[in-house]
Every structure is written in C-alpha cells, then in structure tokens.
C-alpha cells in the first residue's frame, strides 16, 4: 500500500494543522462551538427536506425518444398522512431517508418496514411491536403523526397511492 502523506487541511474552518491523514479530532466544547451553527442548520435543512413530499423523475433515452417518468407517492397509515417523501430508483426500487440503506421492492414493503422499525410510533396495531412508550423522553416527537392509530384493536392499515405521469 502506498504511504504518501496526505496534504494538510485547508477548508474554510481550518484552524490548526491537522494530524497525519489531514484529519484531526478534538472533542472539546470549544471545538464543537466553532461548528455548532453549521450543524444546527444541517439538521434543520434535513428535517425540512424530509417533510417535503418527494417526487422522483426517471429518465431514459430509447430509439431517439426521451422518456421521463415522474412518480409521487401519497401514503396514509390508518387514514393519517405519512408526510415523508419516498423516492424510486431507475431500477424501480423504492427508498426513503428514514431507512437510507434499503431499496425496497415496493412502497408496500417499505411501509411495512417503517411500521416494524418504528413500531412504537404506530402503537395499537396487532403486530405486538412497539416498546413501552414510557421509554421516550419528552423529545419533541410529532405525536399527532406518530400515534396516528387511535383505535387500539385495528391493524395498521396502509394506503399507498402512486401517480405516474408520462410525457
């Protein structure tokens, strides 16, 4: 393996000479405060992005024709809107940022995984999932959406509407 020394950091926040590899690590509060506004903005922007309804556009050129397929998912769980954008890859895999490492066969599978993974946020179904809600601290959760299910005995009912427009 080559062992050439990496060059020093010179980004906009460079304040001291980084260690070998160009990367240094300082866990102090003072260092954290230097970048706190930037990371608060990152979180804010990400949260805003996640709340937006997402639309995917797949494009292909075939025999001299340009094809665009736009897909927008409108999802409800137990009648309540699931306002987190879903996207679709060119290969047809459905994904969303809440589980960023999975390409699902379908939006139905994705929503089943959402209910499994965030079971405590879909209390009242018959799947036995969900931990005691007392595990949560007062954390600013959107309980109006998380606790979308109000009737305790009814299985979570997921409705997914997909609009596809070709032009």
């Amino acid at each position: 393996m080559a062992r050439k020394t990496a060059s020093s950091g010179k980004g906009p926040q460079a304040a001291s000479a980084p260690s070998a590899g160009g990367i240094s690590a300082d866990a102090s509060l003072a260092q954290a405060q230097k970048t706190a506004p930037y990371f608060k903005k990152l979180l804010t922007d990400m949260h805003a992005h996640l709340q937006e309804g997402a639309s995917s556009a797949r494009e292909a050129d075939y025999r001299g024709h340009h094809v665009v397929i736009e897909t927008t998912y409108k999802v409800t769980v137990d009648g309540k809107p699931f306002n987190v954008g879903l996207g679709v890859t060119d290969g047809g895999r459905v994904f969303y940022h809440g589980m960023p490492n999975v390409g699902f066969d379908s939006a139905v599978d994705l929503m089943k995984a959402v209910i499994d993974t965030f079971a405590d946020e879909f209390a009242g179904g018959d799947g036995g999932g969900g931990h005691d809600h007392h595990d949560h601290e007062d954390s600013g959760h959107d309980h109006s959406r998380m606790m979308a299910k109000t009737r305790k005995t009814k299985k979570a009912n997921t409705a997914i509407k997909t609009k596809r427009r070709r032009r």
Binding site: G9, P12, S139
Partner: protein, 302 residues
C-alpha cells in the same frame, strides 16, 4: 501508526474497541442537545452520540453521493483518534469486520460467527454483549420522519431477519467484494443511487441491497435508521468498506470523480469541496484519498 486489523482474529483490537466505545459513550465535554439543535429538554450529549447526530445531519449529503467513501473515511478516522485518546494508545487502529468471509457461511452459521460473541458485539437482540443499557444507553434515535429525538433505551438488533421483501438475507458474498474491485470508474453521473461505478456498487445500490447496505439490513434494528452509528457494528462495517475502497485504489489508482470542473457535478461532492467536521478542521475528498501515513490495514485481501 495505527494498523487496522480483523476483529475476529485480533483480540487486542477487539478488546480495545469495545473499551473505547464504552468510554466515549460516557465522555461528556459540555455539548448539549440544545447546542446541537435537537428538540426536547437540554441534556448532555456524549462524544459517541455526537457522531450519531453528525451522521444523521449529513444523511442527505454523504449518502448515495460521490463523497460516501470519503466522508465516512473522515468520520472513522476522527473516531479512531478519539478512541486513541481515550485509550492512551496512539497506535490503536479501528478493527474491521470482514463480513464477506462470514457471508460464505450458511445463514445459520452467520448468526454464530465470533463477531457476535459476548466479548465482542454480543448476540442478544436487546442490550447485546458488553453494550448493556447501563453502559451503553441509546440516547438519540431517528423517528419515522427521520428527525432526531431523545430516547432512553437499550441498543437493538434483529440479526439475519431482514425487512419486508428481503427476508432472512445472507451477508454479502466474496463474489460481490471481488466484483466491486474491478468496477470502474469511481463514480458516474447522475452521481446518485442510479450511478454505475465503484461508489454506488460498494454502497450497495447497484446491484441493490448488496455490500454495505446489505450489512445494515442484515444487522437490522438500530442499524436501519439514519442514526445507525448508535451501533458499534456500524464502525466495523464501514471500516471494512474503507478497506475495500483502499484495495480498489491500490488496484485502480487514487482517483475520484467528479472533479471541480466536471459539468453538472453536485456542489459539496466534488474533489476539492470541503467535508466539514464538528471535531476539527474541514478536509476535502482529495485530502483523504491517501491516508497511508495515518493508518494501514493488515491485509487488503477482501
């Protein structure tokens, strides 16, 4: 200089990694949920949990994009140095989990690999091995909307179960790691999940649900949401991804795309764009292509 070794075969790396993870979980330097912009009451955030928040904040920037390998190299090297400080051992190297070796086993045997021994990552579905609720509480987690929330619970895994549509998956195979080494170029337009090239393949989108992504799916539980660095397995997975990338660069050259002159390249993902760190100065992707003076791997056979 740190040498990164196989966690299954190097007991010292295994023991030090577990010790350092628990130490950073208990290290508080004054950073609070309020200072990080996380809703709810203001509470101290440990050094370990700051990595959870950092990863969550850059989810849309550093994933399914060209900087996926370079940004995670920055993250891992930062953690490695903080672990060195906690251990008082400047030669400590993050261990890697060669998951493709375990992927050659039967699905049943994958569940009893030594990585899941209780002196390593542990086998329990809740509070596994050394990562008990008392020693390793999960304090920050994504909700279903991807928002960071404060919680207080044990680490969770669903090893080998998979998700709907991907039931009982196997870990990645050696055939996949062999194939990714010959995948060229580094990345291609449109620079996302639809790209061909090494980056999108090693991340696990092309073919879908393979390599890095498949490990997240296989481990499950806290490895599924954007707060996946809650699980120490996250770092074992990414250290192996970094090792595969290093092997790719040794074979194919230390190249990266897009450059800053590539037409249509996404800003923030070009060769000389900054990668910001809450733990130190920014670096660029160009600066982390060669970190041979900081650490090496015991082997690049993947």
């Amino acid at each position: 200089m740190a040498v990164r070794r196989n966690i299954l075969t190097d007991a010292a790396s295994r023991q030090k990694f577990v010790k350092a993870a628990i130490a950073l979980k208990a290290q508080f330097t004054g950073v609070t949920t309020t200072s990080l912009g996380i809703a709810g009451p203001s509470r101290p955030v440990s050094t370990w949990d700051r990595f959870v928040a950092w990863h969550s904040a850059v989810m849309g920037i550093a994933h399914s994009r060209p900087i996926f390998p370079t940004w995670h190299r920055l993250m891992l090297r930062t953690l490695e140095q903080l672990m060195q400080q906690a251990l008082g051992d400047t030669n400590f190297g993050l261990p890697y989990w060669d998951w493709a070796a375990d992927g050659q086993l039967s699905n049943a045997a994958q569940l009893t690999s030594k990585v899941w021994n209780d002196d390593c990552m542990g086998s329990a579905s809740s509070a596994p091995g050394p990562f008990t609720l008392a020693a390793f509480p999960i304090r920050l987690a994504s909700n279903n909307a991807g928002m960071l929330a404060q919680v207080n619970r044990a680490l969770q895994r669903t090893r080998g179960v998979g998700v709907p549509g991907i039931s009982n998956p196997s870990l990645p195979k050696k055939a996949s790691t062999a194939a990714v080494l010959t995948t060229l170029p580094y990345d291609t337009a449109p620079w996302n999940r639809n790209s061909s090239g090494f980056r999108n393949r090693v991340e696990g989108w092309n073919p879908p649900n393979d390599l890095h992504n498949l490990v997240h799916i296989w481990v499950g539980g806290d490895m599924l949401p954007a707060t996946s660095p809650n699980d120490p397995v996250f770092y074992l997975n990414h250290c192996n991804v970094d090792r595969i990338w290093e092997a790719w660069m040794v074979r194919n050259g230390r190249t990266y795309l897009p450059t800053n002159t590539t037409a249509g390249a996404p800003v923030g993902n070009r060769l000389n764009d900054s990668l910001a760190s809450p733990f130190g100065p920014s670096v660029t992707s160009a600066q982390v292509l060669n970190v041979g003076s900081a650490y090496t791997y015991d082997t690049l056979t993947v």
